[in-house]
Every structure is written in structure tokens, then in C-alpha cells.
């Protein structure tokens, strides 16, 4: 099933069925609810490939269709992240471009993009990104641009790209401590707790919280803090 050449409308149908199922808990949809340009042709292709199941007017995903759909959603949302985080497009522009971008992100490349972006867990709108193999193995690459704070090494600097808002109180507290998107950040240590510096503030967090802070590696500004080496765990300043 690796080299499926689905039409654009077929992909859109899969995606909307997947969202309906996993995020809205509707196991099937009325075919005519799918607001997709070339609906009939798309449905026909999906039916031929055994990805959807049609009964009366209702359309539902088959197990194979679910896998394929998750992959499409994953690529689409990764594309959104790529466009907002790396190309710094505005949210609306990004959403629009992402739809088209997703079709270019073929499978395989999605893992590379995902690694580049530090295995993000949600799209800029907060919807979850289905994890790929790379997330499970925690792959790293030299070209990683965005990374969760938990995956940085002590001494690395950057600016906060976004906070993964799983908990409102956590996000609000982080903002209150100065860890706002755009703020320059230095990771000072990772054990026994993560300690980072934003502005003049040092903050200690546990690993779970560090995983929710995403950092654009290599800050525009020089780190605000110290410039000497102390003790064993080297702080490698100047690494950009």
C-alpha cells in the first residue's frame, strides 16, 4: 500500500472521515455531507482500493483506510507546523498552503520533516498529529530546527517556538514566568531536573513539562547568561 496514488479528492474524503471518527466520534458519515469537489470519483477510487466501506448513503473507513487516513492527516498537520514554525507563515496562510503541501510530502519524507520539527505532538491549532515511526524511536538529525526542550543538550540556546498547550494552567504559568513564544532560552541542565533560563529568570521543570516547550534551535540573540564553563557537564556556548 506504499505507492498509492490517491486523487486529491480521495485524500480529502479520507481525511474528513478520519477527523469525524477520531476527533468527533462519528463512525460513519453521509456521503453527501462530504464537501468535496469531485466526490463521486474520489469515493469510487477509495472503494476500489478497499479503503472505505459504503452502505446505503453512509461511508465509513475500513482498517486499511484508517491507516492511510492517519498518514494523510499526519502529513497535513506536519506541513502546517513546517509552514508556521520554519517559514513563519501566519496561521491562516499556513492552513491554506498546508493542504496543498501535504500532497507533496510523500510518505518517508514525513518522518524526515517530523524529525526536523522535533516530533511535534499537535498542529498549530492544537489538533493532535498521529505519531510516526520516527516519533517512537525519537530519531534526531543534524538538521533539526525545532526541538522540544527535553531533547536539547545543556548549553544549547534558541528561542521558544511554541508551548504545547495540553494544560491551560501549565501554559499560563509558563507565560507568567517569562517563557513566552519568541523569548530567547538557554537550557542549563537536564538532571536532576531541567533548568532553563529565559531573560533573567531561571526555571526548573520536570521532563513532562520540558517536553511541552518547543524551541527553535539557535537563537537570534546571544544567550543572556554566563559565558564560562563549570564542572563536568560542559555548557557549550556558541553552538548555533
Amino acid at each position: 500500500m506504499t505507492d498509492l496514488e490517491l486523487s486529491e479528492s480521495a485524500e480529502e474524503i479520507l481525511a474528513s472521515l478520519w477527523v469525524a471518527k477520531t476527533e468527533r466520534n462519528e463512525s460513519s458519515r453521509q456521503g453527501c455531507d462530504l464537501e468535496i469537489g469531485d466526490r463521486e470519483a474520489g469515493l469510487a477510487q477509495l472503494g476500489d482500493l478497499g479503503l472505505v466501506h459504503q452502505e446505503g448513503g453512509a461511508v465509513s473507513l475500513t482498517p486499511a483506510g484508517e491507516v492511510e487516513a492517519a498518514s494523510i492527516i499526519r502529513r497535513e498537520r506536519l506541513a502546517e507546523r513546517l509552514l508556521t514554525d520554519v517559514l513563519a507563515l501566519g496561521e491562516e496562510q499556513a492552513t491554506e498552503a498546508a493542504c496543498r503541501f501535504e500532497h507533496i510530502l510523500r510518505k518517508g519524507i514525513d518522518d524526515q520533516v517530523c524529525t526536523l520539527l522535533g516530533h511535534p505532538k499537535a498542529c498549530p491549532h492544537g489538533s493532535p498529529i498521529p505519531p510516526g515511526d520516527c516519533c517512537r524511536t525519537g530519531a534526531r538529525s543534524a538538521g533539526t530546527v525545532i526541538s522540544s526542550l527535553a531533547d536539547l543538550t545543556p548549553g544549547q540556546t534558541g528561542t521558544i517556538a511554541y508551548l504545547q498547550g495540553t494544560r491551560r494552567d501549565m501554559v499560563q504559568r509558563m507565560l507568567a514566568m517569562g517563557a513566552a513564544p519568541g523569548a530567547p532560552i538557554v537550557l542549563l541542565q537536564t538532571a536532576p531536573s531541567y533548568v532553563f533560563q529565559v531573560g533573567q529568570t531561571q526555571v526548573a521543570v520536570d521532563r513532562e513539562t520540558a517536553e511541552d516547550i518547543y524551541v527553535r534551535i539557535g537563537g537570534r540573540r546571544s544567550p543572556p547568561a554566563p559565558s564560562r564553563r563549570w564542572f563536568g557537564r560542559g555548557r557549550r556556548w556558541g553552538r548555533r
Binding site: R168, R173, G178, S193, V203, A204, V205, E208, S227
Partner: protein
């Protein structure tokens, strides 16, 4: 009696009881003004409160010291100033109990001035609260505090620029060293500021919603409708309750507007609103702030500060701090030197014999003389335990605790133990009440309020009641066992094992998510001696006022109990349990005392030991058992107040049999192994 003692305790702990109506000015002043101090935690609100009013509110170098409101007054010329100190709040939309206190304060009390205290180093992140205060229509002025540290960090802040940008008076100060307070006083006694016209503009959908909500709001909120609309959009629970209460017929309309706006965003509106404010803060701060571009050499304090957090260097530092704080100061200095002198020499050789001789001559009936000078006499036991045994120990601990607090070491301790505490269902943050518990478990139970989840608060309360010895117990243990390293090690080992195991089990049993850990690490600071002294004395005074009447009362109760034979009956009932764990009869009254108060029981063991009736294995077993077993009456009442009566009874019902069980097993094990202690 206990209730009053408790209220007093809460009052002193939070500084309130000392802020009552002490100042009664002779002449009625021309003007009265009410100033409310607000600001994030740890920016120096309480220091400024102290400086303005000359009154003491608890000040430390860690967030969350003020958990309730503290009031005082000051006279500036012919202005009588009422100053209100609020608990630290990051935002007007509260996330915790103490932030809610601040929101209520601002809503319900008509302040002539809201003085926001800002840590100049952290201007950028404190401005969002300023914006919210302005939005709320409050008369705001800024106190740009801790200017000295900002300068050291290479930050130049220009108060004039800030003042112009925001349209507010801005006074730079370094309150801890008294710099800038004259200007602050002058501002407070002169004219008050006009309302600022500064306004943050939110993204269009939110502004649209505000515009639609404002006409639906009627009066009675105490804050500007724009601020109320924003709080409603952020789904602030207290504001929604008030909206339903004030005008229930408009709430469905408001609900529709909020829901429609929420649908336009995928993240909670609170996030977007907070980000917008942060961007505005960045713009304003960008104009008023200049960061010295050259890299700053790390100061000595920063180097030490980094070492205390280091995974390898941090541990020996932690061990050294605990050794000095607990063993040297509380054990050697407190139990050895101070108690030795006060109890052994002063009371033992001089006061007790003199008073006894005097009483025997003056009071013809031995029964009456016993009330004052007998084995359990008011003076020879009650007063002596309080003044000569317990207070020196507790005082030594409070001194160390004040040093740890003010130096900024405690948050570092928190980050070192977070991973271990996670296993116990706590976050590193809980280290603050736990360490305070080593001083007084009752006080610490109150401070568990700073913990964010209910689950964490329950586990911390339980562990405090079970496995954390208070400083009187600690001092007695260290004093009596200091000559027996093996005994001390066994005691510490058993208590530590109980702490870890029971915490582990509690975390497994109690449902709920693990608490997240995030804590600001303040710079290490040299503690100000004056502050240390005031704080130690204030806590000690509270403690003395708490225990002296109770200890005297206990003596009287024992006297009455002896006369009526209730005391003997109670002892007879306890004796089998005490004998069961291998202790002599003489130890029974220590346990009876312990029920009443932890420290009272500990002092009794000290006495029984000195009388030669308790040593070796029974001494060790009684130490372990008495450390574990009592949530004393005072602590029980605070538990019941903070966590509910049912939780308190459950905790006590688990602990008492558990403590005796551990004592029993320990006794068996030590006997079987023929341990020489």
C-alpha cells in the same frame, strides 16, 4: 481555646493578627487612603508592606509566602494610609486559591490606589498584570523594585519611559535596603494618579466579543466591564458565578458570544489573550529596558547557585546543608548547648529547687503544692518543658529555616528531589512544606495550600502527620542519640523508609494525575540579618504563645487527672501497648503527653531518659514510635480545617496503629539481632 489558638496561629503565620487595629491615631487625620499591594510572587510586596507600616509580614525568598491578606496602616503627613498586602498573583484570572484571594480583594474593596510591585529584572513578564489592572479601571501605580539586582544583571530600566508609555506613576526602589522609599511615600501622600488611558488591543474576534458583551453587563462587578468581559471570555469560574448571580437573564446571551468566539480559535481564548498581552508587554519593555550587551561575568553567587543544582555537586551540598542545619544547629547547639544550659543548669539547679522550696513552705497542702511544683507541676514541668526544652529547639530550627528561605536554597532543594518526590505522588514543590514540617508540622500543614492539586495536598498532609518529626522531636532525638551513631542511623533509616514507602503506597492508592513540577529558581541572595532575626522571632513568638498556655493547661489537667485517678487509669490503659513494644511503664506518660502535643511528648521522653528510666533499645524504639505516631491535637485540628474532618480522622486512624506496629517490629528485630545501642 484550641480554636482561638488556631486562629492566632493562622494569623501570625500570615502576619494578619499582628496587623489588626494596633494603630489608633490620636487625632483624626485629614484624609484616609487605602492602598492595595499586588504583584507576582517573590517581588517584595511584603518587604514594602513592612517598610511602609513598620509591621511584620512573613517575607522569604520563595514564592507563596503570603497566603492570606495582611493589613496595616501608616501615617504620612496628614494622610492615614491603610495598606493591604495581597498574596502573589500572576494574573487577574486566578489558577490557585491564593490568586483567587487577590482577585476578590480587588473586586470587593474600593482602593484609592493599587500599587503593583514589579521585579525590575522581570519587567517584561510582569507588565501583563499591569495591563489587566489598567483594564479593570483601577488607579494603578508601579513600584519598580529590586533595582539593585537589575543593575547588577546589566539591565537598565528607565522609569520615566515606562511612566510615559503606560501613563502611570513609576517609582524605582530597592526596598530591602530602603532605597527609593522616600519617593514612594511622597507619591502615596501626594496626589493620586489619574486613570491611565493605555489599552491593549486584542485580535479582532476578541475585541468584537468584548464589544458585544459589555452592553450586557450591569454594575456590581467592582471592575471595569472590559475587564469583566475578558475574564468571561477566559472562562474564569468566579466571574461566571458572579454573572449568573447578578443578572442571570443575560448570561445565555453572553454564553453564546463566548462560545462563538471560542469556535474561531482552536486553543483556549485565555492563551490568545495572554499571548496578546505578552506581545504588548514586550513592546513596552523594549522601549524602557536596555540590556548591557557585553556578556556578564558570573557572580560568585551565581556560581554557587549553579553548583547547588548540579546533579553531582548538588548532592554533597544538600547533605552538608542538612547536616549543618539539623545535626549541628538543632542537635548540637539546640539540644546540647541551649537545652543543657536552660534545663540542666537554670531550671534543674536553680529555678526548680528554689520554687519547690518556696511552694512547700507557702502551701500547706501537698496536693496543692503538687499543682505547681510536683512531678507534673505547672512550673516544674509545664513551664520548664516550654521554655527550657521545646522553645530552644524550635528556635534553633526556625533560625536555620529562615536562613534557608532567604538564601533561596529551598527551590534548589525542590529541583533536586523532584524525581524522588514524583514517586511519592508529590512534585518537588512539596519540599517547602515538608522541610517546614521539620520545624512544626502544624504550620507546615497550613502551608500545603501552595500545592496545586488536591491529591498532592492530601499526600503531603499525610506524610507530615506520619513521618516528619517536628523540631522538638528532632532535637530530642538528636540530643539523646548523638552519642550513639548506630542508634541515630537506625532511627533515621526507619523514618526515611517509612516516609518513602508510605508515600509510595499513598501515590498508588490515591487516584489522580501526577502533579507537574515547575518552579522559578530565585538567585541565591545573602540573607539580611535583620530580616532573619525578625522572622525567627516572629515565628518563635507565635510558637511560644501557642504552646505555653497549652503546656500549663496540660499540667493542670494531669494534676486534676491524678486527683481523680483518671490519669492513672489512662496510663494503665496505655501500658499494655507500651509494654508490647518493649518499653518500660515509665514511657507510657510520654505517649499520653504525645497525644496532646508532639513536642510535649518528646520533652517527656527527654525527661524520662534523664531520670535513667529509658536507654538502649527501648529508647530507640520509643523515639521511632513517638516520631511516627502522633498527629498531635493542634495538627489534627489544622488537618480537619484544611482537608476536612473525614480525611483528618482517616489519617489519624491509619497512623496510630501503624506507628505502634513499626515500633513492635523494630523492637523484635533489634532484640533478635542483639543490636547494641
Amino acid at each position: 481555646m484550641m480554636r482561638r489558638a488556631l486562629q492566632f496561629l493562622v494569623g501570625v503565620l500570615t502576619g494578619r493578627s499582628r496587623c489588626g487595629c494596633e494603630t489608633c491615631p490620636m487625632a483624626a487625620p485629614a484624609t484616609r487612603r487605602k492602598v492595595i499591594l499586588v504583584g507576582s510572587p517573590n517581588v517584595g510586596k511584603s518587604v514594602i508592606f513592612n517598610q511602609l507600616t513598620g509591621r511584620y509580614a512573613v517575607v522569604s525568598n520563595y514564592p507563596g509566602t503570603t497566603v492570606e491578606v495582611c493589613r496595616g496602616s501608616a501615617r504620612l503627613g496628614d494622610v492615614l494610609l491603610e495598606v493591604v498586602d495581597s498574596p502573589g498573583a500572576y494574573s487577574l484570572a486566578p489558577l490557585s486559591e491564593d490568586e483567587q484571594v487577590t482577585q476578590n480583594l480587588l473586586t470587593h474593596e474600593a482602593a484609592d490606589l493599587v500599587l503593583q510591585v514589579i521585579d525590575a529584572k522581570h519587567l517584561r513578564r510582569m507588565l501583563p498584570l499591569t495591563f489587566q489592572l489598567i483594564e479593570a479601571g483601577l488607579p494603578v501605580a508601579l513600584d519598580l523594585n529590586i533595582m539593585d539586582e537589575a543593575e547588577k544583571a546589566g539591565l537598565t530600566v528607565e522609569p520615566e519611559v515606562l511612566s510615559r508609555e503606560l501613563g502611570l506613576p513609576v517609582i524605582p526602589t530597592a526596598a530591602a535596603s530602603g532605597v527609593g522609599l522616600d519617593r514612594l511615600r511622597a507619591m502615596l501622600s501626594d496626589g493620586l494618579p489619574a486613570r491611565s488611558s493605555f489599552q491593549v488591543s486584542y485580535p479582532e474576534p476578541i475585541e468584537h466579543a468584548i464589544g458585544a458583551i459589555v452592553p450586557l453587563l450591569q454594575g456590581g462587578y467592582g471592575l471595569d466591564p472590559r475587564a469583566i468581559a475578558l475574564l468571561l471570555l477566559q472562562r474564569d469560574a468566579a466571574t461566571w458565578d458572579r454573572a449568573r448571580h447578578l443578572a442571570s437573564e443575560t448570561t445565555p446571551g453572553i454564553e453564546r458570544i463566548v462560545a462563538k468566539t471560542e469556535a474561531r480559535y482552536h486553543t483556549p481564548l485565555g492563551y490568545t489573550i495572554a499571548l496578546t498581552r505578552q506581545r504588548a508587554a514586550d513592546r513596552v519593555a523594549g522601549r524602557a529596558l536596555r540590556q548591557d550587551p557585553r556578556p556578564i561575568r558570573r557572580t560568585f553567587a551565581e556560581v554557587i547557585g549553579a553548583l547547588t543544582m548540579h546533579p553531582i555537586a548538588g548532592i554533597p551540598i544538600l547533605a552538608a546543608v542538612l547536616y549543618v542545619a539539623l545535626y549541628v544547629v538543632v542537635g548540637k547547639l539546640g539540644a546540647g548547648v541551649l537545652v543543657g544550659f536552660l534545663d540542666g543548669s537554670l531550671f534543674g539547679r536553680h529555678i526548680s529547687p528554689a520554687v519547690t522550696a518556696f511552694a512547700n513552705r507557702l502551701l500547706p497542702w501537698p496536693a496543692l503544692a503538687d499543682l505547681f511544683v510536683g512531678e507534673f507541676g505547672v512550673i516544674t514541668l509545664g513551664l520548664r518543658y516550654a521554655l527550657a526544652v521545646v522553645l530552644p529547639l524550635v528556635g534553633a530550627f526556625f533560625l536555620m529555616f529562615a536562613l534557608l528561605e532567604d538564601s533561596g536554597y529551598l527551590p534548589r532543594l525542590a529541583l533536586l528531589v523532584d524525581r524522588i518526590f514524583k514517586r511519592l505522588g508529590l512534585s518537588g514543590r512539596a519540599v517547602i512544606p515538608i522541610v517546614l514540617g521539620l520545624g512544626c508540622d502544624t504550620m507546615a500543614t497550613l502551608v500545603t495550600r501552595v500545592l496545586e492539586t488536591r491529591r498532592e495536598r492530601i499526600i503531603a498532609t499525610f506524610l507530615l502527620a506520619l513521618a516528619i518529626p517536628c523540631s522538638a522531636q528532632l532535637g530530642v532525638v538528636l540530643g539523646l542519640l548523638s552519642g550513639h551513631p548506630l542508634g541515630l542511623a537506625i532511627w533515621a533509616g526507619v523514618i526515611a523508609a517509612v516516609f518513602l514507602l508510605s508515600g509510595f503506597v499513598a501515590a498508588k492508592i490515591l487516584p489522580g494525575e501526577a502533579a507537574r513540577f515547575y518552579l522559578e529558581i530565585p538567585p541565591l541572595r545573602w540573607p539580611l540579618l535583620r530580616n532573619i532575626a525578625t522572622k525567627t522571632l516572629a515565628r518563635l513568638r507565635w510558637y511560644a504563645a501557642e504552646i505555653i498556655p497549652l503546656f500549663l493547661l496540660a499540667s493542670v489537667l494531669v494534676w486534676v487527672g491524678q486527683l481523680t485517678h483518671v490519669f492513672q487509669i489512662a496510663l494503665a490503659l496505655l501500658r499494655p501497648a507500651v509494654n508490647l513494644i518493649g518499653l518500660p511503664d515509665a514511657a507510657a506518660d510520654a505517649f499520653l503527653f504525645g497525644f496532646f502535643r508532639r513536642d510535649f511528648g518528646a520533652a517527656r521522653i527527654f525527661d524520662v531518659h534523664n531520670a535513667g528510666a529509658l536507654s538502649g533499645i527501648p529508647l530507640l524504639v520509643s523515639m521511632v514510635t513517638i516520631t511516627l505516631f502522633v498527629p498531635c491535637v493542634a495538627q489534627f485540628l489544622v488537618m480537619a480545617r484544611e482537608r476536612g474532618l473525614r480525611s483528618a480522622i482517616a489519617v489519624a486512624a491509619i497512623i496510630v496503629p501503624f506507628a505502634f506496629g513499626v515500633g513492635y517490629l523494630l523492637n523484635l528485630a533489634l532484640m533478635a539481632l542483639r543490636v547494641q545501642v
